[in-house]
């Protein structure tokens, strides 16, 4: 039950990240001026910018509700401590995230709150993905064997795994800075080069030493997706930040939104590969 629910929650959260990106990219964040209600009701007419902002709110409420249900089921199923902590922290994160979303509306999108909201979203997503992973039956079997992937403790891999993951997060933060202030894009581009190198090295080492598909698959996906992310970033830059870029058009909305969502997916994949790697944190989480 906990596993199924957390899988559904992970999927729903992924959609929510995309919907949130649409809110920012379409500039609809203030189309609904009030919070927690929308124009004083639960369901305002879905027109213009309200379509984006209110859909984001409704799906966010579902995500919040599901997180709450998970708190109940995990208590019921008497899961181990790590799982209980993951559930509780996920719930805490989603509440905080919802409040930040409301606050940024009430204060008319001040950059610091919007950036905080943009960074916490992917962290919450990772927390839910980790939950779905450690509650899976397969993970149980794998953990008994001490993990299936490359041996993270040898080849000095913990360092590169953690560095790469941290750098993806730094990229999310620097990207949010660009997105909400329009400044310091070159920090973000520089960070992209470092993140790209770190991920490539980590992925190739993991693939070289991996004994099983369950770690090779997400690692490979991570390696491919970081390339895609690079091109999406160039697209976002070309259609939105370059001088003379058109003021309207679908490319201007979709490139940054996909870029932002794939950024969160990269972070979650990093977490997944770490969890499945041998002799590292994963096996201890049962």
């Amino acid at each position: 039950m906990t596993h199924r629910l957390s899988q559904i929650l992970a999927l729903l959260t992924f959609c929510l990240l995309f919907l949130g990106g649409l809110v920012t990219s379409t500039g609809s964040g203030l189309a609904v001026p009030d919070w927690p209600l929308s124009y004083g009701t639960l369901f305002p007419p879905m027109v213009g910018g309200v379509r984006f902002e209110h859909t984001h709110r409704v799906v966010a409420s579902l995500v919040g509700l599901l997180s709450l249900i998970l708190v109940a089921t995990v208590g019921f199923e008497k899961r181990g401590k790590p799982v209980r902590w993951l559930v509780i922290s996920s719930f805490g994160l989603v509440v905080l995230q919802g409040i930040l979303g409301g606050l940024t509306v009430l204060h008319k999108l001040p950059a610091p709150i919007s950036i905080f909201h943009a960074c916490l979203g992917p962290i919450f997503f990772c927390s839910v993905v980790a939950l779905a992973e450690v509650t899976s039956p397969e993970f149980g079997r794998v953990a008994e064997k001490g993990g299936v992937g490359a041996d993270l403790m040898s080849h000095r891999q913990p360092l590169i795994a953690i560095l790469a993951t941290c750098f993806v997060f730094v990229q999310i933060l620097l990207g949010a800075l660009v997105r909400h202030t329009g400044e310091r894009i070159w920090f973000h581009v520089g960070g992209a080069v470092i993140a790209f190198i770190l991920i490539t090295v980590w992925v190739s080492r993991t693939l070289g030493a991996s004994e099983s598909k369950s770690v090779a698959r997400p690692a490979l996906f991570l390696g491919l997706l970081v390339v895609v992310e690079f091109f999406l970033g160039i697209g976002a830059f070309a259609f939105k930040r370059l001088e003379g870029a058109p003021e309207t058009g679908l490319a201007r909305i979709l490139f940054p939104t996909f870029h932002q969502t794939v950024g969160a997916l990269l972070l979650a994949l990093c977490v997944l590969v770490i969890l499945r790697s041998k002799n590292f944190v994963g096996p201890r989480l049962r």
Partner: protein, 242 residues
Amino acid sequence: MKRFKVPSLGFFAILGLFLSPWIFTHNAGAVAGGPLTGKVIFEGTAPPPQILKVEADPVCLLQHQDGMTSEEVVVNPNGTLKNVFVYVKQGLEGQTFPAPATPVVFDQKGCHYEPHVFGIQVGQPLEILNSDDTLHNVHALPKASQEFNLGMPIKGMKLTKAFTAPEVAVKIKCEVHPWMAAYAGVLDHPFYAVTGEDGSFSLKDLPPGEYVVEAWHEKYGTQTQTVKVPETSEISFTFKAS
């Protein structure tokens, strides 16, 4: 003591009577100043009209089946530029002009703002209407006054706001309908005008003095001129196509 009271009252009454013409004319600022009138000319070829897509809201689409024309640049048939805010920028320092109690009416009608550009005094009420069968958020983005974002979900709804500091120009927009935009010139005096269909403006009852007059346009920026009133009574500004 008591017997002095009646004559002294009479003295002040007579003094007031003599002074009253001076007080009144001084307050109205009408002493031989004058209107400063003129035109805002547009030079070059007018950019082609920009058609805004409004299908994001069915109510708006119903009223603008063939799209809506952008009001960003409107060149009049007589070669003048519409929606230019002309105002006294310098020369009135130290004088105070009480804010009129009559509100400026700002309407959301047919999914656009009426008027598109307007002047308003600091503290003067801004009466915001929603004449549409759809909802709007009205989001004003001043830097000197308090920013506000208000929801107006019901047709016929009316809200009143005011700006607290001068600023040219304050953008007002709607995030529900991203094509909606308007600009307010906020001043602490009444000497301003917005060009209309004939591109002319008139700053009435301007007291004698030397002034810096500015013409502001949302796309073409600002231009200034220094004038002496009443020596000069007519000026013109020219904006060039970019």
